[in-house]
């Protein structure tokens, strides 16, 4: 049955020795990154199980409270009030037994991406005219960039800097509040509680399923990479690697479409007829009502102070 060449066994000793050969390939690094995210998701889930302040609240109460805070933060223009709100989120994180360093890192990881793109141009006099703070470049009179005329000099303005700092602080406070909600609530509970704030059931179900299958598909991607690694005898060129990644992306899409059809069939076979039914087992306690009342009052107060309706 076996061809002759397959009966050959190399009985000689291994002629090579294992030595360090430099950096990892880009596919390996990307997969590591994905797994880093997975690991973080696991860590976050453990925060949701700790007996902390926010973990003890009803998820609906928590969601409404946090949304109130996010709404207030997005209309506040006073920097001091924004710093106060951010400090409040840090205090809530501490009371909820979250590692503060982990929390700050998680929030500030995203801020440079969002705030940086929008806030950085705003500090210059081109976007925010105002008082000169630091001169960046002198262009001379009648400077042009194609058909656009440019100011005589480009400088950072006091008003522009203020706008940028307020914007960044606002993003930080909002993101902190939302991250708090996410890491102190188990995912499945969080998604269910969305329904109580008016999100249609079908979206809640879709979100729940998407979250579950994202993990499954990520696992598939990891397994495909490992299987390829097992069969890769020689290092391949970057182009070859990219071709493989492209092919696998297409395959993952086909698999996910195929899986979605099968999942739908499995749902139908268990009685699903398009009407989503969600079991809610939440119970509001006095402290939950108190939390909502406190968050709503504080948010209103912050907005009123920020708009000088109440003088402090």
């Amino acid at each position: 049955m076996l061809p002759e060449w397959m009966k050959e066994v190399d009985v000689g000793p291994c002629r090579f020795s294992a030595v360090y050969h430099g950096k990892k390939g880009f596919v390996g690094k990307t997969i590591d990154g994905i797994f880093g995210f997975l690991q973080e998701a696991f860590v976050s889930e453990t925060y949701a199980k700790r007996p902390g302040f926010l973990q003890g609240l009803d998820p609906r109460a928590k969601m409404i409270s946090i949304l109130c805070l996010v709404f207030a933060t997005s209309v506040i223009t006073n920097l001091n009030l924004l710093i106060f709100t951010y400090a409040l989120t840090l205090m809530l994180a501490y009371l909820s037994k979250i590692n503060i360093a982990f929390f700050i890192k998680r929030v500030w990881l995203f801020i440079p991406i969002f705030a940086g793109i929008i806030a950085v141009p705003a500090i210059f006099n081109i976007i925010s005219p105002g008082d000169l703070l630091i001169q960046v470049a002198y262009l001379g009179k009648e400077a042009h960039l194609g058909p656009f005329s440019l100011p005589e000099s480009i400088y950072i303005t006091k008003q522009g800097l203020n706008v940028a700092i307020v914007f960044t602080m606002r993003v930080a406070a909002c993101v902190s509040a939302v991250v708090l909600l996410f890491i102190t609530t188990p995912q499945q509970v969080l998604f269910k509680s969305l329904h109580s704030v008016g999100v249609p059931k079908i979206y809640v179900l879709t979100l729940e399923m998407a979250y579950r299958y994202v993990f499954l598909l990520m696992d598939l991607v990891r397994e495909m990479y490992v299987a390829k690694k097992a069969r890769t005898i020689k290092s391949r060129s970057m182009f070859e690697e990219q071709k493989w990644v492209g092919g696998r992306m297409g395959y993952t899409l086909i698999r996910s479409l195929d899986m979605s059809e099968k999942v739908h069939m499995a749902m139908m076979s268990r009685g699903y007829n398009g009407d989503v039914k969600i079991m809610k087992q939440f119970k509001m306690h006095n402290r939950d009502y108190a939390a909502v009342a406190a968050a709503a009052s504080l948010s209103t107060l912050l907005v009123l102070i920020s708009h000088n309706i109440i003088q402090v």
Partner: protein, 276 residues
């Protein structure tokens, strides 16, 4: 017997918290046929992945071909002679066939390995044709892997590995989901490879085939530690052990090799002594 794999006090845990293997020490010699037995989740697949240098122990040391296998050595982007040698000599058949098949056609899939061995196009084609014929899958040559049935996919997966003529074959649950005829075919193939001097390590919880494909059995318990490392026949005869590691339950029974010679779904065909 020359030692190919040497595992010293190896433990592995996923994302630092879910234990998969604990304190595993074992050696595998050249030409051995070994079964790794254990219930679902005991760590069999993890052990195979470590043996293939795909993941690295969280603690402990793993040596293959007298070299320590570490991430720094294996996961580099640069050309690496030892890794090339290792990947040529060791073949891994995954449990999930779908992850292993990534080329547009069955032919391309099987040719992937030999092409990396710097063989000429004619040699590659001849070798692929040999394997297609040996595996009785010539008719699948130009098919797309994702259109194949489960049994066909498994055959193609095995073909993709055998085509490189590895000296060591690692198989993860190879008989799972196969029809009886394909199972028998696979058992005979593994026997033949063993007779040719290949080292065959199979992770399975299918007790019906292990005495045919291995002389040595390593049993991993539900606590992720090695319970027994001994002869396959001794392991199969130790009912208390098999019960304790969740490989059999109290209503199962053995007929020795007779199990492969008659249908198991029978009533009154012959007498059994069931444990109650």
């Amino acid at each position: 017997m020359e030692t190919l794999f040497d595992l010293r006090n190896i433990s592995y845990s996923y994302v630092g918290k879910i234990d998969a293997l604990k304190d595993i020490s074992l050696k595998v010699g050249r030409g051995e046929q070994v079964s790794i037995l254990g219930s679902n989740g005991s760590g069999k697949s993890t052990l195979l992945a470590i043996l293939d240098g795909l993941i690295y122990p969280t603690s402990g040391e793993f040596y293959a071909f007298d070299n320590q296998i570490t991430e720094e050595v294996f996961d580099s982007i640069k050309e690496n002679d030892f890794r090339t040698y290792f990947r040529t000599k060791v073949g891994f058949v995954f449990q999930n066939s779908d992850v292993q098949l990534f080329s547009p056609t069955v032919f391309d899939e099987i040719a992937f390995g030999p092409l990396q061995l710097d063989m000429t196009a004619e040699d590659v084609e001849a070798r692929v044709d040999d394997v297609l014929e040996m595996m009785d899958i010539v008719k699948l040559r130009d098919r797309t892997p994702h259109t194949l049935s489960g049994g066909e996919k498994k055959k193609v997966c095995i073909a993709t590995v055998l085509v490189n003529n590895p000296d060591v074959l690692l198989l993860d649950e190879p008989t799972a989901g196969l029809d009886p005829r394909t199972q028998l075919w696979l058992t005979e193939l593994l026997q033949e490879l063993g007779e040719a001097g290949k080292t065959v390590i199979t992770a399975t919880h299918d007790l019906e085939v292990i005495d045919q494909i291995s002389e040595r059995a390593i049993v991993i318990g539900e606590d992720h530690r090695i319970k027994v490392d001994g002869s396959t026949l001794d392991v199969l005869g130790d009912m208390a052990l098999l019960l304790s590691v969740n490989l059999i339950h109290e209503h199962m029974h053995f007929h020795g090799k007779a199990v492969h010679e008659h249908l198991h779904a029978h009533k009154g065909e012959h007498l059994h002594q069931h444990k109650t």
